[in-house]
């Protein structure tokens, strides 16, 4: 009996979680210029509107931004994770705090801080793509270091000692043993960074510039003038990218596990 | 006659189309200690879970102290359960753990304190009431789990491999301690284990399980000396199983003659043995004796055999033999400091008729190490 009640409650919560996304998808097929649900008539008009340069430009820019951010996060995250493997050295605590700091701060605050800093430092022309990449790397580094550390921790330290005892140099050990084993964590971290960057609004609001605006910010600006089913189509398109990425790498559960362990330890 | 503490009637649970536990029929009398013994996956834990109310049976009945409980939820069954991993509440003290069941029964505060104190004395945990389970040793945790199950004075104590997480020495101590306690309190107990030694030392009766069913139910002696199947014979202790066939079912003196590849044997009649029927002859290694050729005592069965290896085991010698048909057998010889058998030497392996046991039916090749796997 009580099991049935629990399952019905859970079914309702699932409906709550998924309904808005499904409704958005349905609205995009409306034949009239209103966000009706259920949709009136069927047309691909709004989808073709979403394919015009007004929207494909920001969409492609978002993809570029996300890819750059993911790569840059990995490039910075790997040496950081490797350094933090040393059990103790002077300044380790500071380094750790510096790495995890952006996790505690709302990304909106990081965004306005970056905006002021770049302007006052005289590199206001970095606002746009460079500033967006920098900001997203700052936001995603904690996750990258976490996921990398988790997979690096799973490497038996003996594997490295064994390789060293077989005559491999420090660099060879790194290339032949450590890095291949760190791949799963690095991959999860990169996918996470890509999706975070692609979906980010809070930071991008402040450091985008006309012509270098990600899709999310473009949508927010458009919303000031009203709603249109085009937005529904765009929302669905922007949902498909992360979905395709995750499906491609089959990592959804893997990423879930990493986030898991994250907060499990917190 | 008082009601049985536990009675299972045709208890059955299906897992998918191919795996079934049961039907199981079993009675645990008042004050009796019964063990479910079997390899992992034989259905003993499922049986326990059905009795506990954690798994719903597909068919059959469960009676506790005479009343049916199969439709009751776990919290109405009045059972004391000791779990394999003890399942002590980590956020509560030892005393709170032990008193949990009394609190759920709305026993008064003073009464709870008194009974918890008694229970802690009973299992020799005096003075540890304020500790948390995490601060206790394995043996102490085991005792808390036992006290928590006993303090509610359940109609039946269920023990699910409670000793398997302890080291050998502690395990041997706890065996004695648990069965002494159980006898002193006169509480009926159903014990689940895959360890034959535990089963032999602790139980009044043993139910050997295999493939979801009880293969044999009996006292330790019956199970060991008169196993119902090759599986039971092989699961408890080591044994020699030799294929043979019944030649003359009725001989003067109430014996039958069984021919084997190692030689003929005369053994007492048990049950109905058809002429020419295939059987397995079981001889426990400690009942198989050795003598110089021709020196076996009168009236015994003697087979010629060659010593292949002798292994010195302190109190006894294990002698491995090759029989006439090339099969092997093992004999334990008590180490009396006199006889010594050389490897390669020809001997007579002999046994008294009553020291052999006949298991009817053709031999299944898999029987000796049968492990029919279930969840």
């Amino acid at each position: 009996m009580s099991r049935k009640i629990l399952w019905s409650v859970v079914a309702l919560i699932y409906a709550f979680m998924l309904a808005p996304i499904l409704i958005t998808a349905a609205v995009s097929f409306n034949a009239v210029e209103r966000s009706y649900f259920p949709p009136r008539g069927f047309s691909l008009h709004w989808w073709s509107m979403a394919m015009t340069p007004q929207w494909t430009g920001p969409f492609l820019f978002s993809l570029k931004l996300a890819a750059l951010s993911a790569v840059a996060t990995a490039v910075l995250g790997l040496p950081l994770a490797l350094a933090l493997r040393w059990p103790s050295f002077r300044g380790r605590g500071t380094l750790q705090a510096l790495t995890l700091g952006p996790l505690v701060l709302p990304s909106l605050v990081t965004g306005i801080a970056l905006l002021q800093f770049l302007t006052l430092a005289g590199v206001g022309n970095w606002i746009g793509l460079p500033a967006l990449v920098i900001g997203h790397v700052v936001i995603c580094l904690p996750f990258m270091v976490r996921t990398l550390s988790i997979s690096l921790d799973s490497i038996p330290i003996n594997a490295e000692i064994a390789a060293a005892s077989l005559g491999a140099s420090r660099l060879r050990v790194l290339i032949e043993v450590t890095l291949p084993l760190a791949r799963s964590g690095g991959g999860a971290g990169m996918i996470f960074a890509f999706i975070s960057s692609f979906d980010d609004v809070n930071l991008a609001l402040f450091v985008a510039r006309p012509g270098q605006t990600p899709l999310t910010v473009q949508i927010m600006q458009f919303l000031e003038y009203g709603f249109s089913p085009t937005l529904a189509a765009l929302s669905i398109i922007s949902l498909l990218v992360p979905l395709a990425l995750v499906a491609l790498f089959g990592r959804l559960v893997g990423i879930g596990n990493f986030i898991y362990q994250d907060h499990g330890h917190a | 006659m008082p009601e049985a503490a536990l009675e299972l009637r045709g208890l059955t649970k299906h897992f998918g189309a191919s795996v079934t536990v049961g039907p199981i029929d079993l009675i645990v009398r008042q004050g009796e200690f019964v063990t479910l013994l079997g390899p992992s996956g034989c259905g003993k834990t499922t049986t326990l879970n059905m009795i506990g109310g954690f798994v719903t049976p597909d068919a059959g009945g469960i009676h506790l102290a005479g009343s049916p409980v199969e439709t009751l939820p776990p919290w109405r069954r009045d059972l004391g359960i000791v779990f394999q991993d003890y399942a002590l509440f980590p956020h509560r003290t030892v005393a709170e753990n032990i008193g949990f069941g009394l609190r759920m029964r709305r026993v008064g505060r003073a009464e709870i304190a008194r009974r918890v104190y008694e229970a802690m004395q009973l299992v020799r945990l005096d003075g540890l009431g304020d500790r948390r389970p995490g601060q206790l040793s394995g043996g102490q945790r085991q005792r808390v789990a036992l006290a928590r199950a006993l303090v509610i004075r359940p109609s039946l104590l269920l023990l699910d491999e409670p000793l398997s997480n302890l080291d050998l020495k502690l395990r041997e101590e706890m065996r004695i301690e648990i069965s002494t306690l159980q006898r002193r309190l006169g509480i009926a107990a159903l014990f689940v284990t895959h360890d034959q030694e535990e089963a032999l030392t602790m139980s009044d009766r043993i139910a050997v399980m295999r493939g979801g069913r009880i293969e044999q139910l009996g006292s330790a002696r019956e199970i060991y000396e008169a196993p119902a199947s090759a599986f039971v014979a092989g699961f408890i202790g080591s044994t020699n199983l030799i294929r043979g066939s019944v030649i003359a079912p009725r001989q003067p003196g109430g014996t039958v003659r069984v021919d084997t590849g190692a030689g003929p044997a005369m053994i007492p009649i048990v049950g109905d043995l058809p002429d020419g029927g295939a059987v397995l002859l079981m001889i426990r290694p400690e009942r198989l004796k050795l003598a110089s050729p021709g020196a076996a005592p009168e009236g015994t069965n003697a087979w010629s055999a060659q010593v292949v290896r002798t292994i010195y085991l302190g109190g006894r010698m294990e002698v491995r033999l090759r029989l006439r048909d090339g099969g092997t057998a093992i004999a334990y010889a008590v180490n009396e400091g006199e006889t010594d058998w050389d490897e390669g030497e020809m001997v007579d392996a002999w046994f008294r008729p009553r020291d052999a046991w006949v298991i009817p039916g053709p031999a299944e090749d898999s029987d000796a190490q049968a492990t029919n796997c279930l969840r």
């Binding site: 966000s35 609004v201 927010m220 | 359960i81 991993d85």
Partner: protein
């Protein structure tokens, strides 16, 4: 080379990056919040006027309190709705379990905008809910559900629910199912078993999920911007208008500092409460 040396060598570049683009900007933010602004750019003149403006003007105080209220409500909703889902996902033996887990986490992939837009469609003055109620004759004029604080709370709770499910699942995974069985065998019914065993042992996950949702909710811009209006300003929407519309960076920074401080205060309060209950 000493092992320490290689750690420094490895960390040098990323550490410099974080110092330059994270630590330094935050320090700058802290200091501009105490400076006077002229034409967008803060000038070197110390003042506490930014904070006193934000902490005395009713409009701003309301926004701050509203934001914190939203954060608390969202945190509570996320935990209350996330718990049954997490419990079911961890304890079920259904072979659909992996699919259900993926489904529960999949909203994480969608941008907050996607997750919020559906609510706007559902609740706007000529959305399906209003149309349904009108058709049924329950109401005679469309309900004005938007903009409102309540809908912002629902939208954010919806967007952040997967985090609650994740943290509580992690905590539940650490609870031995035999503990629940033990409690039941000792006479505790389902509710008592949950209250006296399962819930206390997963308190860390509940607190973690609450904190995470609270922290993200008070700093969220998109949902209050889409589902809210001029009467439902939050710290985030105010920061946006200070920075990008009014171009008063000092005021924006000060609000940013208040946002930071409120998340730290709640964090500290909860950690304190946790410590007290433990001792």
């Amino acid at each position: 080379m000493k092992p320490q040396g290689s750690a420094y060598l490895l960390a040098a570049f990323p550490a410099a990056f974080l110092l330059l683009f994270f630590a330094l900007p935050i320090l700058l933010l802290l200091s501009t919040s105490m400076l006077k602004s002229e034409d967008m750019v803060p000038i070197a003149q110390l003042t506490t006027a930014n904070f006193s403006t934000l902490l005395t003007k009713k409009l701003y105080v309301d926004a701050i309190l509203r934001t914190i209220g939203i954060g608390v409500a969202v945190g509570a909703l996320v935990v209350v709705l996330g718990y049954p889902v997490a419990y079911t996902l961890v304890r079920t033996q259904s072979r659909w379990q992996p699919v259900l887990v993926a489904l529960a986490l999949s909203p994480l992939l969608a941008s907050v905008i996607v997750r919020t837009y559906g609510w706007w469609v559902l609740l706007n003055h000529d959305g399906p809910i209003n149309n349904f109620l009108l058709a049924m004759g329950v109401i005679s004029a469309p309900l004005r559900m938007l903009p409102s604080t309540a809908v912002i709370i629902v939208g954010l709770a919806h967007a952040l629910l997967p985090y609650g499910v994740l943290t509580i699942m992690a905590a539940l995974n650490g609870v031995n199912p035999n503990l629940e069985r033990a409690a039941m065998s000792l006479g505790a019914g389902r509710v008592r078993t949950f209250v006296s065993v399962t819930l206390p042992l997963t308190a860390s996950g509940v607190i973690g999920g609450f904190l995470l949702a609270f922290g993200v909710a008070i700093g969220a811009y998109a949902t209050p911007a889409i589902l809210g209006g001029p009467g439902t300003q939050t710290m985030a929407t105010l920061i946006y208008s200070f920075m990008m519309t009014l171009l008063d960076w000092s005021l924006g920074s000060a609000m940013g500092v208040i946002l930071l401080a409120s998340s730290f205060v709640v964090l500290a309060l909860i950690m304190l409460a946790g410590r007290r209950s433990e001792s």
